[in-house]
């Protein structure tokens, strides 16, 4: 079996912990050698998943918990965000997600709905399971030829 390290965190399903998950992935991805840009993508993707978990699934139950798992492989990072609360209608969510279309009147613009779209746009592979609670599985590949693991990352946007 392919070797990997696994990190698991359990957090209260509350918005104040979205930033904490973001700091965690920043550290893990940095250690793995992801670029500054890729780390920013990962931060957005995991925050979107965590936000969904805290807002959608736990509206009725404030004591909910979210489990976040990081599978650290040689060539990729696999992230799992799971809540064990109520499920939402996945088909409906998928239909309501996507970029803004020029033909849409501004009045009908969705204020939510960009979360899953962004996860899809920023990650290499995304799977959503909706059997018991909601589990978002997402993968970001590591471009091995870029830098060695110990090299400092130099932000490109500064």
């Amino acid at each position: 079996m392919e070797r990997f390290d696994f990190i698991e965190m359990k957090l209260p399903a509350k918005p104040e912990f979205v930033g904490v998950v973001r700091l965690s992935i920043s550290g893990i991805a940095n250690r793995m050698g992801f670029s500054y840009e890729e780390i920013e993508d990962l931060k957005v993707a995991i925050s979107e998943a965590m936000t969904n978990a805290t807002t959608h699934a736990y509206q009725a139950n404030e004591d909910g918990e979210v489990t976040v798992g990081f599978g650290i492989y040689q060539d990729r990072l696999e992230i799992m965000v799971a809540d064990h609360g109520g499920s939402f209608d996945l088909t409906e969510i998928k239909q309501a997600t996507g970029p803004y279309q020029q033909t849409e009147p501004i009045e009908s613009l969705r204020e939510g709905g960009f979360g899953l779209f962004l996860i899809d746009a920023l990650m290499d592979k995304v799977e959503i399971k909706n059997d018991y609670g909601v589990i978002v599985l997402m993968t970001k590949k590591l471009s091995l030829n870029e830098v060695d693991l110990d090299d400092d990352q130099i932000p490109t946007t500064q």
Partner: protein, 111 residues
Amino acid sequence: MNINLNVEVVEQDQSTTLVLTGEIDAYTAPILKESLLPLTKTANAEVIVDLEQVNYMDSTGLGVFISALKSAKEHDSKLKLIQLQERVHRLFKITSLDSIIDIDTTVRGGN
């Protein structure tokens, strides 16, 4: 590292500028919404949001700006975003929201 959001309101003759510092996410977006939305409800007001010191934003931030844009249209006021960092600007481009929200990109910040 600052994972909170600080909002400073700067009143000028013709416009009001919100200077934001920190990160916009599910936890801090309500803080932004609370200060931004009321400003858009004055007819002919020009509301400027300075994002130079915002180094993280996700769809919750996009949601607030969509609400503010709708409110501005409804109340005949103007909303403008300035000094976006490239990372933040990218989210508006990916979602095509840059086609409907007035974004001034002549000066881009970074830190």
